[in-house]
């Protein structure tokens, strides 16, 4: 079964895709006629995400363009704070939602 974190990451990836669509269309000529369809797909994904995950994402989205921050070598790449080692394997395996103690972003381990 797909983890809540992976669904939330897909949700953010689509958000960014919609943001960059105009640039891709104007500068490179890519068609973006499916914008509404993609927004619907994003909303469908949202239905499978736990409310507390989605609310946290949406609250952070008012402050950050990318509310989910990648983690590499136990460092939040959003603010470069060192993360507690206690996050350990659970964070790495997307078991639950962890947020950065310094910037508040949702954390996603990319390694």
């Amino acid at each position: 079964m797909r983890s809540q974190m992976e669904l939330l990451v897909l949700y953010q990836d689509i958000d960014l895709m919609l943001l960059e669509a105009e640039e891709e269309e104007k500068q490179m000529g890519f068609g973006t006629e499916g914008r509404e369809k993609l927004q619907k797909a994003r909303n469908d994904i949202a239905k499978s995400i736990e409310v507390r995950f989605l609310r946290t994402y949406q609250r952070l989205h008012t402050r950050y363009k990318r509310p989910i921050s990648p983690v590499q070598n136990d460092v939040c790449l959003g603010c470069f704070a060192k993360l507690p080692t206690s996050y350990g394997e659970r964070g790495r395996n997307d078991q639950g939602m962890f947020t950065c103690e310094q910037c508040g972003r949702i954390l996603y381990w990319i390694e």
Partner: protein, 153 residues
Amino acid sequence: MNSSDLARLFRPTFFLPALKSKDKEKIIEELVQPLIDSGLVKSKRLVIDTLGKRETLGSTGIGKGVAIPHCRTMAVSDVHVVAGITQAGIDFNAVDGKKVNLLFLIVAPPHDSSNLYLPILGKIVEIVRDTKMRKALTQAETFETFIQIIRGE
């Protein structure tokens, strides 16, 4: 971005001169596979899903036999480019309705600090708009030949 900068992003193992897949979904998977084999992707499903969602926005089959499937995804931590050729051609729902023979897959992390993603995309679009280069790239049989063409040599 210039042609040499772009050429440096390609790797021999990320050049697939004889793609075998017969449909759009499968050929995207075939292009992603070298990244999986190299351990560069955290979740294959996430990459495939995100690329699929990008195709929902609009086909990346830009016409004249070329497709550039691309996306930003947190499943990767660096920008990667994979090139592939299928002489048989596949239906990619391209803007001109023609079959696609030459494909470039681009994946990049959202936090792409060097901000290479859009310049790479733009440079590839520029190269394949040149009829002579596009034809030469489609006929390239080796990585060395392919890179020479990308460099404009």
